[in-house]
Symmetry: C2
Subunit: 306 residues, 2 copies
């Protein structure tokens, strides 16, 4: 079957590191155009505005958006109104209401909208979900500690309103949690550490129902930690390395892992969604973040400078 054409919007680090290689190797998709003010991809037609690309390429049926969440709605709405399927980087928007709006637009046009959560495609997530499916959860603990200076050097926008602060990586953990738990949880309370000179939290500790807790911290130097440990009466499951390593009772369980990378898996899923003409928009991770910012107790922290 011929590959379908896709346009990539927002040619920055995540596009070049992940989306372009995933599309280059995709059996389903062909990168047919880019839209970006500065970035471009060799030998691919480049446009500075989405409108110009849409007008020039009626044959491009899908638009994949890699730009930051705050400007993303206008691009997604424009693409949907022009009759194109849309794929959204995580988080799917700056607000919940705007994503609901996109859902309505897509449904009204019979188009596919896919709100991606790349961490759900990490190698060990599907086997972890399968192992937990028939278990009772007695406790679960997320520890997600990384060094913001290493991953977002000098990027002040992560501490501006809408930048999400430590929830930018934390929402990846929540996207895995909400995928693997056999029953939903909801937030009971949270502590949020706001640097005195910043608008978003640099650390957060969340308490959910069913003894589920999360510890997010952006101040960890040295080794980085992306672990989820789930205790059950039948044993303890640990997902380490951001969902890429599965341990049961301390032993690495390797055999059945998927071998596809996160972004290739996202594009394969998008191809299935478009064939079936359905959408996949799960807002659960984003709702937990909004709930934490609604219900959390604010604690002052030391000023932060990159």
């Amino acid at each position: 079957m011929a590959r379908q054409k896709v346009a990539l919007v927002g040619i920055g680090k995540i596009a070049l590191d992940q989306h372009v290689p995933a599309l280059a190797a995709s059996p389903d998709w062909e990168l047919a155009a880019t839209v970006s003010r500065h970035g471009r991809v060799d030998s691919v037609p480049a446009y500075e505005t989405l409108g110009a690309m849409l007008a020039a390429h009626p044959e491009i049926g899908m638009v994949s958006l890699c730009l930051p969440p705050v400007p993303r709605f206008d691009y997604a709405a424009e693409a949907l109104r022009a009759g194109r399927h849309v794929m959204l980087e995580k988080p799917p928007g700056a607000t919940l209401a705007e994503v609901h709006h996109l859902q309505s637009l897509a449904a009204g046009q019979g188009l596919t909208l896919f709100a991606t959560w790349h961490s759900r495609m990490a190698h060990a997530v599907a086997p972890a979900k399968a192992w937990l499916a028939d278990k009772t959860i007695t406790r679960a603990t997320i520890t997600w500690r990384e060094d913001v200076r290493k991953w977002h050097p000098g990027q002040d926008w992560v501490f501006e309103p809408g930048g999400m602060g430590v929830f930018d990586p934390g929402i990846n953990a929540l996207s895995i949690l909400t995928e693997i738990l056999p029953a939903p949880v909801h937030l009971l309370g949270a502590e949020l550490e706001f640097p005195a000179n910043r608008q978003t939290p640099i650390a957060a500790r969340l308490r959910f129902t069913d003894n589920v807790a999360a510890d997010f911290d952006w101040r960890q130097e040295g080794p980085q930690t992306w672990d989820i440990v789930v205790e059950t009466p039948s044993g303890t499951l640990a997902l380490r390395m951001g969902g890429n390593v599965l341990e049961i009772d301390g032993n690495v369980a390797g055999g059945e892992h998927t071998i596809m990378g996160e972004y290739p898996a996202l594009y394969a899923h998008m191809a299935t969604l478009v064939r079936q003409r359905i959408s996949d928009v799960d807002l659960a991770p984003m709702i937990h973040v909004a709930d934490a910012l609604t219900l959390g107790r604010r604690i002052p922290a030391a000023p932060f400078e990159f």
Copy 2:
């Protein structure tokens, strides 16, 4: 038709001021029990725990919850699991995730869940919605300014996490806005004023799409303001007094207003929902508040003491 039995949980100010009189005059409902640690209603069987009431009264098919949002989930879940329909005061919970959880519980049991927004039942809201239905909105402005010392004297909990601050009255305005606008809007930005010694905002200014804006302030002494003004090419609509007075181009429009009070109208609607075995859970007002707390810029304000 015989009136159906209802139990009221949380016998505080709002229950005594609104729910008890509404039920006393209701053609659909009979107050058959109360649950409260301290409050009670003359000649109505009183229980200290929901469990005791549910066990003693299998004939009570509906439970109406008037307690504050933070403890409400556990009561609602217990009532639904015991097979009773549930009606929730506004806001329907402390978190969005917990309300989704209640929706799942209700749907799984074939029960009615009604997340009430009493301000939507104010006299002039339905005629305002009807007038706007075929109009184009060019601008809308909410001004919701009241004196927290007058309406919540000494109630420190409104400034604690989960207490919502100025969004406690503001969500009433948002419940009207989301009811009367012919198309949904979403937040573009917000400024939130946090008193230096408090956890929730005392004032908020919100900017939405379609030139919709809101100004919430809890520091207004003297005359109180609860206005929504909507400009259209066909004229300007104003809802004043919290949705109770309708003006078109400055002239009071009175004829077609409903005459039922807000809480009697809520209980009449609940009777319809139960007869039809459907739920009514519109989270749009709560989503706008969560979005404002996610995307808003925090501005320090003077410490506040009652």
